[in-house]
Amino acid sequence: MKSLIRIFGEIGSTLILLVRAASYLPTLPRQFGRFVEQCYLIGYTTLPIVAILSFFIGSVLALQAGYSMENFGAKQFIGTLVGLSMARELGPVMVAILLAGRVGSAMTAELASMKVYQEIDALETMNIPPARMLVMPRLAATLVMVPVLAIIADLVGWFGGAIVSKYTDLIAIDPPAYFSALRRFMTFHDVMNGLIKAEIFGFAVVLVCCNIGLNTRGGPREIGAAVTRAVVVSLILILVLDYFVTRALM
C-alpha cells in the first residue's frame, strides 16, 4: 500500500513539475544560453554513441533478415524490413534508452547533488524557481534535439543495413536495390510515427530524471540511488509507453 501511495505521489510530483516548467516557457528567449548548453549536452555529446549503435543495429537487422528471408526467396525485401524496423521502432527506442543512460542519469546526478548540497534551497530562497532555471531549458532542448537524433539513427541504421547487404555473400544485394525496396514500402508517415515516439519517450525520460533528481533527500549515497532509480524508471517507462504510443499511432 505504501509503495502504491509513493508511486502515485511520484506521478503527481512529475506532473506538477511538468506544469510548472511549461508555465516558464515564455522565459526561454532570455535563457537561450542554458537552452543551447542543454542542446549541446543532449544532442552533440550523444550523437557518436547513437551513430555507432544505429549502424550496428541496422547491420545486425540486415544480417538476421538475410539469413531468415533467404530460405523463402524474400531477401529483396531486406531494405523494407530494415527501413521500417529502424524508423518505426528501433530508432526511437534506442535513442530514448541512450538518452536515459547517458543524459538522464547525468541530469539526475547533477540535480540530486544540487539538492543534497542545498543549492536548490538557495535558489528557492532567492525566489528563483528551479523549474524555470533547471528544468524548462532541459525539456525544451530535449524537444528540439531528440527528433534530430532519431533521424540520424534512422539514416545510419539504414546505411549499416545497406553495407551488410552488399558485402555479405549470403545476401549480396546492391545498395540501389536495397534502397529501392526501402522506399517502395515506406512512407513519410512511418518516419513521422517514429519521430513522434522518440519525442514522447525522450521528453518523458528527461522529465522523470529531473523530478527524481529534484526530490532527492539525504547524502551522497542517495545521489547514487537516485541515479539508479531514474535509469530503471526511465527504461520501464520507455517500454510501457512504447506499447501504448504504438497502439495509438496505428
Binding site: 532570455r30 544540487m114 548540497y117 542545498q118 543549492e119 534551497d121 538557495a122 528557492e124 530562497t125 532567492m126 525566489n127 528563483i128 532555471m133
Partner: protein, 270 residues
C-alpha cells in the same frame, strides 16, 4: 590570517532598499513523522535587530530557520515576516530574504562572480554594467575581489562563508538569516565572520537572525538571544542575561567543563 571587513568602501544603499522587517514566530510546532522537532516555539524579532538563536546540535535551530524562509511548512502555528505568512508567494515577492547556508550552498558550476550575479540577472534588476557594479561592491566589502574568477571548489571554508554572505548582500536583503556561520572555522575567522555580521547590520540596517552554538558570537554581536533545547525555547532575553545564567542547563551549554574524572559519556552509559 584575518580578512577584515572593508567598511570604508560601500556606497550606502537607499533607505527603501534597507527597510528592515520584523519576524514573528507564533506557537510553531514541526514534526517529521513521529519525531517532534519544534514544540510550540514563540518569539518576535524586531526590525534591525540581531537575534541569535543558540542551542545544541539537533535542537531544531536550522529547521526553525527554514520555516522563516519558507523552505519548511509548520505542522501547527505560523511564521510571519513583515506581517505576511513566511511561505506565501506574496512574501517571497515582497520581502528580500537571504539565507547564508551552513555549507555556503554556492553553485559549484558557477564562478564566484556568477554566483553573486545570479540573483540580479534572474530578476533582471539592472543591466550587466549595473550587476557588475553591485557584485564588485559586495566582493569589495568582504575583501574578496581577487576571488571573483575562482570556482567554489577552489575556496577555503572561510572564503566560502564570506562568498555566501556577499551573495546575500547583492540581494540587498531586508532580512538576513545565517545558519551556523562560524562552524568549521578557526577562531580568528569565526571572529571575522561575527564582525562582518555586526558591520552589515550597522551599515545596511537589516534584520539578522543568526543560528549558532558559538558563545563568543552571541555575546559579541547579539541584541537578544534565544536558546532552543530539544525543540523548546527555554530562554529568551537580552544578551547580558547570558553572562550569568540562572538555568543550569544554560550554564552547562555555555560553559561546559571538561571533567576527566567523571566524563559525560560515561554518565550517559549509566
Amino acid at each position: 590570517m584575518t580578512t577584515p571587513v572593508n567598511t570604508a568602501t560601500p556606497t550606502p544603499v537607499t533607505a527603501a532598499q534597507t527597510a528592515a522587517v520584523a519576524v514573528s514566530i507564533e506557537d510553531l510546532s514541526k514534526s517529521f513523522g513521529a519525531v517532534e522537532v519544534l514544540k510550540h516555539v514563540s518569539f518576535n524579532v524586531e526590525p534591525g535587530e540581531i537575534f541569535v538563536l543558540m542551542g545544541p546540535s539537533g535542537s531544531g535551530k536550522s529547521v526553525l530557520l527554514k520555516h522563516i524562509v519558507g523552505l519548511e511548512l509548520p505542522t501547527s502555528g505560523r511564521v510571519l515576516v513583515d506581517g505576511r505568512d513566511a511561505a506565501s508567494a506574496e512574501n517571497r515577492a515582497q520581502v528580500r530574504m537571504a539565507l547564508v547556508f551552513q555549507a555556503g550552498a554556492l553553485f559549484n558550476s558557477l564562478s564566484v562572480y556568477d554566483n553573486l550575479a545570479l540573483y540580479p540577472r534572474e530578476h533582471r534588476i539592472t543591466n550587466e554594467a549595473g550587476i557588475r557594479e553591485k557584485v564588485m561592491r559586495a566582493l569589495q566589502i568582504l575583501s574578496l575581489e581577487t576571488a571573483a574568477k575562482k570556482f567554489p571548489s577552489e575556496l577555503s571554508g572561510g572564503m566560502k562563508k564570506r562568498v555566501a554572505i556577499a551573495r546575500s548582500l547583492v540581494m540587498e536583503p531586508q532580512l538576513m538569516l545565517y545558519d551556523e556561520p562560524t562552524s568549521e572555522l578557526d577562531p580568528v575567522m569565526g571572529a571575522t565572520i561575527s564582525e562582518i555580521i555586526a558591520t552589515l547590520k550597522e551599515e545596511y540596517h537589516v534584520t539578522s537572525i543568526v543560528v549558532s552554538h558559538d558563545r563568543d558570537l552571541a555575546l559579541g554581536i547579539a541584541d537578544r538571544v534565544g536558546i532552543l533545547m530539544s525543540g523548546k525555547l527555554i530562554h529568551l532575553g537580552p544578551v547580558a542575561e547570558l553572562r550569568q545564567p540562572a538555568d543550569p542547563r544554560i550554564q552547562e551549554f555555555l560553559n561546559p567543563k571538561i571533567d576527566l574524572k567523571n566524563p559525560r559519556f560515561k554518565q550517559l552509559e549509566t
